[in-house]
Symmetry: C2
Subunit: 306 residues, 2 copies
């Protein structure tokens, strides 16, 4: 099975309003509620791709119960804590589709909860073919948490993908994960360079075996031990980009465990991202668009670095 | 005991953000969560004033459980339904204190749930000294719901205060409640007049025995069978006006059951509203400010209507 870790799970709420106007009152016309946090989104897509998936991370309180009840098709190895799982609220303007995001910080994780989680994580790795470490850290979890989880996975011989940002990414990358998947902002923050190819190569030098940077509508750029590639979708797609990055992570993991060559992995990841943008619900993908896009993604190989 | 009815209870969330900017992403710095809906706020204040209070209305789902767990000092006679209790989100800009409100619509109440509630309401009235009917109607509840609840209370000989708006207020007022407490907007919507005294008197002619209009920082205006009064706070207070109207309702009910004369009731209601604006948490009141304000409210009697 593939293991996804979401330390800061969330109950994702989507509110539709006519138009968000600061400092006024709004009637929410429709409310959608579902489990969230990057690792749970990745798990949902992996399941749709036919993989067996186990999810772990922290949940607590009534919001945590709602997250658990909303899971389907995955093995729930989430770890109960005394704090309450955070909510995220996406407020969508009905006319324009423009979205305003409000993210709660998450529960305070106590040191014994973190230690108990680590023991359970090591055990779960025993039957994992790959592991994805995804998203922000809740309060109380040490900033070097991902670095530690990467080392434990590598010691267990389980390939590990890291998708986070800021200091947890900086520290995690030094622990030599197999793949990191920053977006352009995260990559620039990490390396100081806004030029994606040199930045991705710089990130490799910091410890990641492969760096796959998401460039938004322009697709993905990968710097790997086998070479560097840029993959672009066959057309510009309009829609809701929420979850597009998580779909790319799912495709990269899928390609990793099935041993696909990099160009094919990248084509799948770009096609799945674009198919996610097209789907009406955030974090789901349009299966027929995926099937039609996957052979039309252009993958261009960069010259090897000097 | 005093009975408060909140058909559309809520889990009230307060989010602090640095500054709300539409179509961008926000880190919520603090989250506060508590039971909401006007009738529950009124009950909280009545309890603080020393009254025995029973709360009823609808609750459901994980949010409903959170509402029930957050109640304290009141008798919980809330009625479980299959839909989930709505959330309201108040997004407060940290610097300015300006608030943006997002209100979910509430669960769909099925006809058998409404019928079962009515039977339980009639039974609760048997031991009530007064009843307050508060707030919006959830989907599925007939628009004439408050009119019916007013009639049932009057048939049971229980004085009834109605605090709602729009068509439910228009219909409810025709059922001859003892007191209605519209704000200036609601009164204008009901009567077509923005001049509060003639509007309040017009609302009386529509059926309410007494009309107490809240005029925001200017205080309250009452048109009653014993005369008309205007009551103003001793000073302009700055703070969070959320819950100030609910505190006024609590004071009016308290004065009703203890048989206080109108000028005294109005003084208490104005002082309690102002003390609520001053309290740091929405819907709580500053007890010492209340004690100091209550004898300083100016109550002016209007000449009788021609």
């Amino acid at each position: 099975m593939i293991l996804t870790v979401t330390l800061n799970t969330a109950l994702d709420l989507t509110y539709r309003v006519e138009r968000l106007v600061p400092h006024s009152s709004h009637r929410v016309t429709t409310v959608a509620e579902r489990p969230g946090g990057k690792g749970l989104n990745v798990a949902r897509v992996l399941t749709a791709l036919g993989h067996e998936v186990t999810v772990t991370g922290f949940v607590g309180g009534a919001t945590g119960e709602a997250v658990r009840e909303g899971l389907s098709g995955v093995r729930d190895a989430l770890f109960g804590v005394s704090g309450a799982t955070r909510r995220t609220v996406a407020v969508v303007d009905s006319a324009s589709g423009d979205t305003t995001q409000l993210n709660e910080p998450g529960p305070l994780i106590a040191p014994p909860e973190w230690s108990a989680f680590l023991a359970s994580y090591e055990q779960l790795l025993g039957s994992a073919s790959a592991v994805a470490l995804c998203g922000s850290l809740p309060p109380g979890v040490p900033v070097g948490a991902y670095a530690h989880l990467v080392r434990v996975a590598r010691a267990a011989g389980v390939p590990v993908l890291l998708d986070t940002s800021g200091e947890p990414l900086r520290r995690g990358i030094a622990a030599r994960p197999d793949i990191v998947k920053p977006n352009a902002d995260e990559l620039a923050e990490l390396t100081g360079s806004w030029d994606p190819l040199p930045a991705a190569r710089a990130a490799r030098r910091r410890g990641a075996h492969a760096v796959v940077a998401s460039l938004g509508p322009e697709g993905l750029l990968a710097a790997t031990p086998e070479g560097s590639w840029q993959a672009a979708p066959p057309e510009r797609v309009a829609g809701n980009p929420t979850g597009a990055g998580d779909s790319a992570v799912a495709a990269l993991l899928s390609g990793l465990v099935t041993g696909e060559p990099w160009p094919r992995r990248l084509a799948s990841a770009v096609a799945l991202s674009a198919a996610t943008v097209l789907a009406p619900a955030a974090g789901e993908f349009d299966a027929s668009a995926y099937a039609s896009f996957v052979d039309k993604v252009t993958v261009h190989r960069h010259a090897d670095a000097a």
